[in-house]
Amino acid sequence: MPEQSTNPIRDALAEAIGANKVILFMKGTPEAPACGFSARTVAALQATGTPFAAVDILPDPRIRQELSTLSNWPTVPQLFVDGELVGGCDIVTEMYESGELTEVLGVEAPADAPDDAPPGPPPAGAPLGIENRLA
């Protein structure tokens, strides 16, 4: 495959990561996750009450490819905070359980964090507009 001088998908991903304090790349949407790992990550994030941007990587296989190249991380979901990769499902779940997730997100810890991330109510306005730009 010839080297391209511009890579619009990678540029759009980098821009989305830069423009959103908390952004999750996942399979499916927060309302309808298409993978158990994505679902668990969404549940942990929602339990913190932090609004987050979500990008569905499924519509175009190139999104997944470019994302993994950009982040040097092989799997999805991927959570970025302040432009930095925090982790996937394992790390996010572990950080939620230990209370570190709320620290990283800069929100108050819930009064009593349960052992497992419960599926919280969907956040009122999870921005999904990026999906359209990337598709």
Binding site: F37, N72, W73, P74, T75, L85, V86, G87, G88, C89, D90, I91, E94, M95
Partner: protein
């Protein structure tokens, strides 16, 4: 298709003084869960710790190994 034993051995061979407990998470031979203990993780962020383990299987995760769930700890 890698076995849990093979995954365990490869992690233990790649990381200094590491011990790994590996489960076949779903019984299907492609979703694995590894608990890895090594002094090399000390002082590293979680993402750096997990990368050390993921790098052992570079190119195989998402392929022959559909998913590898990792938990890292220091001895």
């Amino acid at each position: 298709m890698p076995s849990t034993q093979e995954i365990k051995q490869r992690i233990e061979a790649a990381l200094p003084a590491a011990t790994a407990d590996v489960d076949d998470w779903t019984g299907g031979g492609d979703h694995f869960r590894a608990i890895v203990t090594s002094p090399v993780f000390a002082g590293l962020s979680r993402i750096e710790q997990h990368r050390l383990v993921m790098d052992v299987f570079a190119g195989e995760i998402g392929g022959a190994i559909h998913a590898l769930s990792v938990k890292t700890q220091t001895p």
